[in-house]
């Protein structure tokens, strides 16, 4: 009964490629998020959707494009991957305050 799931768990790819990470939540939450956690473990918000509407868009290169086909799903597409994109990406969801995180996707760009 996974609450927030992400696929894939690991992603290894070459510079310049395009890749997607998928996220699904079965908690019935209205709000979903993408976070990036770098090598120093600092967790930083990238995007947030509420009822499929983008409500937070931090200073993120436009190579990153989130898409929310419905309330339960929030995907992240990354174009022209760069070495600096290597990190762990976490999806999360919330109803009011407490956020529920997925297991993370470790992206390695070679």
């Amino acid at each position: 009964d996974t609450a927030v799931s992400q696929t894939p768990k690991y992603l290894v790819t070459q510079m310049g490629n395009d890749k997607s990470i998928k996220c699904e939540q079965n908690l019935g939450h209205d709000t979903m998020y993408w976070y990036k956690q770098d090598s120093k473990k600092f967790l930083k918000i990238m995007f947030s959707y509420n009822n499929k509407e983008l409500i937070i868009n931090e200073t993120v290169p436009n190579r990153f494009s989130p898409k929310s086909p419905d309330k339960a799903h929030l995907n992240l597409h990354i174009n022209s991957l760069e070495l600096g994109d290597s990190a762990v990406y976490f999806c999360a969801s919330s109803h009011i305050s407490e956020q529920f995180f997925g297991p993370g996707t470790r992206l390695t760009v070679l």
Partner: protein, 111 residues
């Protein structure tokens, strides 16, 4: 600029002792503050939330205090156990949806 600082990157303590972690912030007026636990290779897990009008909150062996004058929260793990070893993150709510996280403190409890 807004800043969240957790007092140290790492804290090593003996089993049975109390671990105290500090979260300081500047240039924020958060409605509330949250603490999360993160184990290696896993996502953060919510532990406690404390509102700006609350001084203290407890949950089992965990205690959180919130001093909006000092702009500081303290997180205590009493009677610590090796299973408490993890990274603990404080997070401030900036608006209805946006949480801003500190860098975390890694706690290691020695048996």
């Amino acid at each position: 600029s807004q800043k969240i600082e957790q007092n140290s990157e790492a804290l090593n303590i003996q089993e049975g002792k109390t671990a105290t972690l500090t979260c300081n912030y500047t240039n924020y007026s958060p409605a509330y503050l949250q603490w999360y636990r993160q184990d290696p290779g896993r996502g953060p897990v919510f532990l406690l939330l404390i509102r700006e009008n609350e001084k203290e909150k407890r949950k089992e062996r965990l205690k959180v205090t919130f001093d909006t004058t000092l702009k500081q929260s303290l997180f205590h793990i009493t009677a610590s156990q090796p299973a408490d070893s993890a990274t603990y993150l404080c997070a401030l709510l900036l608006n209805d949806y946006k949480l801003s996280f500190g860098a975390g403190t890694t706690v290691t409890v020695r048996a």
